[in-house]
Symmetry: C2
Subunit: 496 residues, 2 copies
């Protein structure tokens, strides 16, 4: 067997262990009773140890060297697969088993603590566990920085978005940061001058909300023979490409959030479902990174489903699902609800004009924590100051301030920026899609998403990790990631 073939065999095992862990993680969030948590943590930790052992088997170094020496024998997909295997090997081998276990323990413990600390608005109770997580993540970041020859925070970014560097994000976020306050002021003024949306009175039975979500998921191309929709505290997309598990959460008196969350997750699901089957269980066959992943979900949710064409199609289905009628259930009124701009303290409730400010705040703070310039104890004050600076508001308490997100307790430093980079990618890709195929928008209005999803499949999904994110964007849109399309989108939608 060639070194390359043996590498494929070994990475197939890693992929299958990841798949098993993904199903266990979905179950933990969507099905598991609370009393199963400790046992599940042990199961996931053991899978991680087994995975780490396989990913750091000393034989891999020689196999990678041998395959790279013979790289000329590989076609483009295989060469990209080999490069991706090397990148993953670097990540896995930069940290020793003790640090992997320390990360798993610290984050499991901190995440569990966070669940009560958030409810009880108890930052002091979380702080020691969070400080431990930050310490471990800083150790990991330092080790990976050595391995990749980059800065510690950049090494964390690379875990979620390969090749991402904070210097470029600084520039993109500076550009956005300079642009957004003025747009926000003008959007709020335009909104104040327009009629208030008519109320959408509840209650909305969960079963009806779910049926509506499933109907629109199916319209978008979600294949229920290869996936499910369930409930969890935070909406997410889990499972595996042949069996994609979406979750949302329902509010009895407001269907609008759960519905948009379902459509958002459907964007993630379509990416997973559209990955190249012939490269399944090989690194090159997986999604490129979190920028394009979030780009897919925000393209579907923000660009398409909050657009007037989609709501023209969906409004009668929404009214029918809840047995309602009248002017509140028109596409125009739904559009007013779905385009409401309102600065607030909570990221997951934010509109698309203010969302980047939430991300920029977290990006600044996590960079400072990783650099050692911000102590966990000082986080609440820094958070509140940042919110005042960026959005001109003060969170009522830590629960709706620095305790609101699971990401840091979970150890996911370097993840937040991908939300806003994804928003930029979504705008850039949708603009290119509309330019490439004039039927995409009229088809959306008819409830036909095949032209749109076909374009996304060809230009993003089916490419897996064959190219870098910027290469994908250059091929599809003519230029690397920037903020131009996103700015035009905000102006067109909120200032017109």
């Amino acid at each position: 067997m060639s070194a390359y073939a043996e590498l494929e065999r070994r990475f197939r095992r890693l992929a299958l262990l990841d798949e098993a862990a993904a199903v266990l993680a979905w179950d933990k969030a969507a099905m598991m009773p609370a009393g199963g948590a400790a046992a599940r943590a042990e199961q996931l930790a053991e899978l991680e140890v087994v995975r780490h052992q396989a990913a750091t088997d000393p034989a891999l170094a020689d196999l990678l060297d041998a395959a790279e020496a013979d790289e000329a024998a590989l076609d483009g997909w295989r060469a990209a697969n080999l490069a991706e295997m090397r990148r993953r090997w670097r990540h896995a081998n930069a940290v020793d088993a003790g640090l992997v276990v320390a990360f798993s323990r610290a984050t499991s413990r901190c995440e569990m603590r966070w669940r009560t600390a958030r409810v009880e608005n108890d930052f002091a109770g979380l702080a020691p566990d969070l400080a431990r997580v930050v310490d471990v993540v800083r150790e990991i970041a330092a080790a990976k920085a050595d391995a990749f020859g980059c800065g510690p925070y950049d090494a964390l970014l690379d875990q979620f978005e390969p090749g991402a560097r904070s210097a470029r994000i600084d520039a993109l976020f500076a550009d956005l940061g300079a642009f957004l306050p003025d747009v926000l002021d003008r959007a709020l003024a335009a909104q104040a001058a327009a009629p208030e949306p008519l109320p959408l009175d509840g209650p909305f039975a969960e079963a009806d909300q779910r049926a509506l979500g499933e109907r629109l998921m199916a319209a978008l191309g979600f294949d229920f023979d290869h996936g499910r929709l369930d409930v969890s505290h935070h909406p997410f997309t889990g499972g595996v490409p042949e069996d994609v598990r979406l979750t949302t959460r329902y509010e009895r008196d407001d269907f609008t959030k759960a519905l948009m969350a379902v459509l958002h997750e459907t964007g993630h699901a379509l990416y997973e479902m559209g990955l190249p089957r012939e490269w399944r269980r090989r690194p090159v066959g997986e999604a490129r990174g979190m920028v394009l992943h979030e780009g897919q979900s925000l393209l579907i949710e923000m660009q398409v489903c909050r657009g007037s064409e989609f709501l023209t199609f969906a409004a009668p289905l929404i009214a029918e699902a809840f047995g309602r009628e009248g002017p509140a259930w028109s596409a125009d009124n739904l559009l007013r609800h779905y385009r409401r701009v309102a600065p607030g303290p909570i990221r997951v409730d934010a509109d698309e004009v203010t969302y980047p400010a939430h991300v920029i705040l977290r990006y600044r703070l996590e960079k400072a924590m990783i650099a050692g310039d911000l102590a966990v104890a000082d986080l609440p004050a820094a958070w509140n100051e940042g919110m005042r600076d960026l959005l001109g508001l003060a969170p009522p308490d830590d629960r709706d301030g620095c305790l609101q997100d699971i990401h840091w307790p979970d150890g996911a430093f370097g993840y937040f920026p991908t939300y806003t980079l994804g928003a930029l990618a979504a705008a850039q890709l949708y603009a290119a899609a509309r330019a490439a195929d004039a039927d995409i928008v009229p088809a959306v209005m008819r409830g036909d998403f095949a032209p749109l999803v076909g374009w996304l499949r060809a230009n993003v999904h089916a490419l897996g990790s064959r190219h870098t994110t910027d290469e994908v964007l250059v091929r599809a849109t003519g230029r690397p990631l920037d903020a131009a399309a996103f700015k035009r989108h905000l102006e067109a939608r909120y200032l017109a």
Copy 2:
């Protein structure tokens, strides 16, 4: 680290891999969309390969030898744990990795085929896949027979019920086979002379059936912080002791089967929930075998819940759950339904008088298939002939004949006899429990199951695999497994 301690560490990994596989298997039956089957089969197969590699690591042989040489240093629990580790090592090391993969592939494929073949009454469509499973199982049986120094079929029995031997089962089943036809005739005659039960008219909403099941599960001691009730095609108990997953299936026009299935599975669940926590993730801490497991479920379902005391407690709750009233909903009438004797072709619908005949048939046929005396192609004819012989009836078709069970497609040869051995154990244990504590029966009538479950916990559950099945029975009932208590039970219930 001592050899024994190192063995515990290694078997802990095996236990955790088993737990991960158990959750994936539950999900497969209760949650997974059909299109996820192929990917799930690969995930489970890979976990099995990883598990098999760990279970056949050459270092284990030396560790077992060293620990056994120093066995005098171990207390009773640890000595039993070591013996159980040796038994498992023998099972794992008897078969090579190729055979393990062949088994996993053949059974995954055959099980999926069976799902449609049964619906379509298409035995010919299943036969090639089933023949492949039989071939692989015969290879495994031959290899394990060598390792254990027993016959091939006995080696398969040992996988489910350690120490079980077909010579003893032959004798027990001959005893039962001679006893049952006469009891059946007399029970049918007594039933014909008694008034017909009043009909329990449906429909019964699934949500109401589920709520009733959960209420009675809770009364029996099932802890919903450590488990769930869901739906699958066949009721089963899965998950792990801290998170036990029960399933049932509901019929709209008949609640009685789903309810008793829930109570049956609750018996399994109580065993899992009652295993000794201090021996968790060690072989000695696991359930003893399928005879005592089925003994627990049949004790709860058949001995307790189809008894007049339980139904006296449950009748008003059942009536309330469905908003019904009147004489049909009395304990007496429910009892008549739940004691109905009616020979029929379907095992899972069989009453407890005719159930052993279904098991004896399967036992005879699977022994013959493993011995090479019965070809898969000849199974339908042999099945139908056996049904005529044992119960005097002919199945209408293969769907309700030899296609009805998942066990053989799933590769579970040597499992069927444990159902009836479990029925014998259930009768023997419940008789001993009543003799040991006179409050058990009156407490059941009050809906208080603590005395019963306390006795089971002390005499069965908390013992894990510390003793053999016969040792458990001798300690709890004064004698090894036999049919005497079961015979007395049938006479008392059906001929009184």
